[in-house]
Amino acid sequence: MTKAKKGDWVEIEQLILAPEERAPGIPVDTRATPLLLRVHGFILHDAAIGEFAQVKTIIGRELGGTLRSLDTAYKHSFGNTIPELLSIGTEAEA
């Protein structure tokens, strides 16, 4: 899906600081990247990914930015099994 309909829960992105605007003294690798902000909200109008979008956040603030994603799901998990952990605390290691 690349198009959001008014009222969809979406993620927008704002450019906060371009690389040349970043704070002095930060590491070189970080300095080469922009400071980005992402936030979720209900979109106030139809828009396609990459277009400007205005959202209302969960607390009711209106924020604008580039529509980044329509997929706002959290997908973090317990991760793949780490076999190295399994035998800790068992008879095998008593």
Partner: protein, 476 residues
């Protein structure tokens, strides 16, 4: 209306006025010099008694958490200790607070204060458990909440532990401003405070730290009730310093002046905290040396003019542990004690094991927190993520653990060692930082006595240390 200049420089220049407006408190009332201020007057100035704090916390489901004896772990430690050694290990199950960590104690007082002063909402800049705590306690007081978090690197990827923290904040109804890597998080915090007029629920206000005092007091009362005496040592996971400061102050208020205060952090030596590349190679998002050392050696580097968290004032010992050691103990806690808890909170449990081994069997060591666990906030999640990102994960000797390269999980309990830090080295470092903040040639008696109190020494010691440092400099 005049359009305000929102550039980084212009906004940072408005820092003091934004802070004042967002806290309803003027730090100038306590300040003597760029170094010295009246710490105790600032803490008392919150106006809350210990009873008030208890009552406020009980209203929003914080405090009164259980203290459990870890009998099976104690037995396991005794089996690898010399005869007669192996102190009793207890843990305060802080995961039982609303929002799942001791940070609820801080947030509950901040939320109460924000509400009392008439703010419509509160904001905190944090990538730790404090975000969920502020969100949960704001919700309970009917306040709006914004959490500013450093979440993802330039590839858009965040450690599972941090992603879970974002999720938790949203679960409690907060707006989460998720940022890429960099210290300019502070700029976003200031900007958002100015835009909204909300309360700055900084981790480092006197309200927050006073909130942790109840942890130390409860712990003392519960240990006495269960064992008939005060704890001999309390192990405290150390990052920003509020956990140690509040707990130690609570122990003092509960008449435990002889309890040894042992701080503990995960050693992340070699990784740069503000580096985009290192961001996802830490495998811990808090409780580590990237916060622990700088905040101990100079507390006044935070989002408020003077920090109420002053770890060296209270710390007797500082132990570093490896990532692998903490993950090992986290697994052991589940298997031996039936308590599945988050890894970051188990940092101090790791130190407790090595400490208990050196202590007599009738002595008591208390681990003063646990944190909740779940998808992302779990040692298996963090290890799986590390492995996917090219970090070696294996069993072996803890000394082979290299932060960002290899996580080495001990093969057996007897390998847990921790590394005791040289406290005087930390104190020297503090004095050097103080001299950077305000030239030592201009220090008054008040500065010397403040520094002495702040690092748990006397003024003669501070003067001798300063002379040594100056000599060293002249030699170079």
């Amino acid at each position: 209306m005049n359009q305000k200049d929102m550039s980084y420089q212009a906004l940072m220049a408005r820092k003091n006025e934004i802070m004042k407006a967002s806290m309803g408190m003027d730090y100038d009332d306590f300040v003597f010099s760029p170094i010295a201020f009246d710490y105790e007057r600032m803490m008392a100035g919150t106006g809350y008694s210990h009873e008030d704090i208890k009552r406020i916390q009980a209203e929003t489901k914080a405090g009164n958490t259980p203290l459990f004896e870890l009998k099976n772990l104690t037995e396991a430690v005794r089996r690898i200790s010399e005869p007669g050694k192996g102190a009793r290990i207890f843990v305060k199950d802080e995961a039982a607070n609303a929002s799942g960590s001791f940070k609820a104690r801080r947030a509950s007082i901040s939320a109460y204060e924000a509400k009392k002063k008439g703010y419509k909402g509160m904001i905190a800049a944090t990538s730790g458990n404090y975000g969920a705590a502020v969100a949960s306690h704001a919700a309970q007081r009917g306040l709006k909440c914004i959490i500013v978090q450093e979440v993802f690197d330039s590839r858009g990827i965040g450690q599972p532990e941090i992603v879970e923290k974002s999720r938790a904040c949203e679960a409690y109804g907060a707006e989460v401003l998720r940022l890429s890597v960099g210290p300019e998080l502070f700029y976003v915090l200031l900007r958002t405070l100015e835009e909204t007029g909300y309360f700055n629920a900084s981790l480092y206000t006197p309200f927050g730290i006073r909130g942790v005092e109840s942890l130390g007091m409860e712990l003392a009362e519960q240990t006495r009730a269960l064992t008939g005496k005060a704890p001999d040592a309390v192990c405290i996971t150390h990052a920003g310093g509020g956990n140690i400061t509040g707990t130690a102050r609570g122990l003092l208020a509960a008449s435990c002046p002889d309890t040894r205060i042992v701080a503990c952090s995960v050693d992340l030596g070699g990784l740069h905290m503000a580096s985009d590349r290192d961001f996802n190679r830490k495998s811990f998002t808090t409780g580590h040396t990237g916060f622990g050392v700088p905040f101990a050696t100079w507390p006044d580097r935070v989002d408020v003019p003077r920090n109420a968290a002053r770890p060296l004032r209270y710390m007797d010992e500082y132990q570093l542990v490896s990532q692998g050691e903490v993950f090992y103990v986290t697994e052991l806690l589940s298997k031996l004690e039936g308590l599945e808890r988050g890894p970051a909170g188990n940092t101090s449990l790791t130190a407790a094991v090595t400490l208990a081994r050196q202590m007599e069997q009738e002595q008591i060591v208390v681990v003063q927190e646990t944190e909740y666990t779940g998808a992302g906030k779990h040692h298996n999640s963090q290890l799986a993520f590390a492995r996917e990102n090219g970090i070696e994960v294996r069993r072996g000797k803890p000394e082979d653990n290299v932060p960002g390269k290899a996580i080495v999980i001990p093969e057996r309990l007897s390998q847990l060692a921790g590394k005791v830090q040289d406290m005087d080295k930390l104190r020297f470092s503090y004095i050097r930082n103080a001299a950077k903040a305000h030239p030592a040639s201009e220090w008054t008696d008040r500065d010397f006595s403040f520094i002495a109190d702040d690092i748990k020494k006397d003024t003669a010691w501070v003067k001798a240390a300063l002379a040594n440092i100056t000599e060293d400099k002249n030699d170079k």
